[in-house]
């Protein structure tokens, strides 16, 4: 089969797979961000129960392979089928795409918790003290003074995390999701042509490099008021 025929036959599917990959990553990173805020605050709170809860969560999801987590959720949920059916959630866990979405969300949520926690601690203590001395409450200080600065500090590592998620999302293919990797595996199984993997590599490369460059631009633009020099 010529390369043109190969691309004609499997190219559209791989592009569809690329969209699935983007969808998986975009949704799970966004939902993970929602998890990370309460988890980071719990980690920094004075309540030992909240702290332990947050620590346990990030420890488990950062210390185990994403693939093992996907297996745990996707295959593990089958064991609780009757229970899941009784509470009307089986449709969710039956679907490999949703299982991956859930696992990726919890996984990136744990990494984002660490990023946000680190960023909050980086914000100078003087900022908090100044806010208190102006009579702001703890919540006001957190929401209006510390968090806006922390989010800015966390932008750069967050960009790295999104890239890691794009790469990590390839494991979805193992549990039959037709993301870019899944579509490529199918194309390889049918054509036995190794070049499909190189086309997939090019697509992943373009996706990651574009994101990296755009993210750098945005980060520079948003943090231009605190940049000390042009370097």
């Amino acid at each position: 089969m010529s390369q043109l025929e190969l691309l004609g036959r499997y190219g559209p599917r791989m592009l569809e797979g690329l969209l699935v990959t983007i969808e998986l990553v975009a949704i799970s990173v966004a939902l993970g961000a929602l998890i990370s805020l309460p988890m980071a605050l719990a980690r920094l709170s004075s309540n030992p129960v909240l702290r332990a809860l947050s620590l346990g969560y990030t420890f488990f999801f950062r210390g185990t392979p994403l693939l093992a987590q996907v297996f745990l959720v996707y295959y593990g949920s089958g064991e609780f089928r009757t229970f899941l059916e009784s509470i009307g959630l089986w449709w969710f866990f039956r679907d490999a795409f949703y299982c991956c979405l859930l696992t990726f969300t919890l996984n990136t949520g744990a990494y984002q918790t660490e990023i946000l926690r680190g960023a909050i601690r980086q914000v100078a203590a003087g900022q908090t003290e100044a806010a208190y001395s102006l009579g702001l409450s703890r919540w006001q200080t957190m929401l209006k003074i510390v968090l806006p600065q922390a989010v800015l500090l966390g932008l750069r590592p967050l960009g790295n995390e999104v890239i890691l998620m794009i790469k990590g999302s390839a494991v979805a293919a193992i549990v039959t999701v037709f993301d870019l990797m899944g579509a490529t595996r199918l194309a390889f199984a049918r054509s036995f042509d190794i070049t499909v993997y190189f086309y997939a590599a090019i697509l992943y490369f373009i996706l990651v490099e574009t994101l990296r460059r755009v993210w750098n631009r945005v980060e520079r633009r948003l943090s231009r008021h605190i940049r000390r020099s042009t370097a």
Binding site: F59, G63, P65, A68, Y75, K167, I194, A201
Partner: protein
Amino acid sequence: MGDLLGLLSFGPDGWGDEIAAGTWLTIRLAAATLPFGLALGFVVGLARNANAPWLSVPGNLFATVFRALPELLTLFIVYYGGQYLVQWLVSFFTDTYVEINAFVAGLVALGLVFAAFASEVFLGAFRSIGRGQYEAAAAVGLTPFQAMRLVIVPQLIRYALPGLANLWLVLLKETSLVSIIALNDLLRQTSVAVGATKEPFFFYLVACLIYLAMSIISTFGLVAIERWSERGMKR
């Protein structure tokens, strides 16, 4: 619960010995990948740090590509691509069918990714060592190679260790990908146990806990190494 723990016993009835064998393979694979990845990463870092474009351009390209590709895709390309390549080379001499070793494919793929990220760490470490160090080494008459070995590298290790420690923890988890190319690592052995016992949740949880334990033990070791690397520094 007693039934479940019985499944983990060693011997013909339990899966304990299979899972232990898988854990051992995971450790061996990670430990074998480390020196390869470190050496390649150091060379690539050195190339990227060079002034000559014929060194820095390929170095940067290598690092950019292998940091951007999913580890799983790199593994497939090395495994299937390596198979084609070896078969093609062998076909010049004989007609026999050779099969590429999954362990070696895993080692090479994980090593390439490790090297790409390690080169980034080394590059940062090179840049944090002042020019004066090179100049002083040259001034006392050391050759560039001696300067590298006696002056730069001992300091480099200290700067690079935290980053490399992180990469080791990442590598330990990424070995799980080789289970897909039918290498009997911890995750694959767990899947075999799941297939036979129909207890997916329990077994995958056990696998996760073993990965966690390996990370914790590594962390202790890494802290010790870091302390050793700072033995000459003022506290």
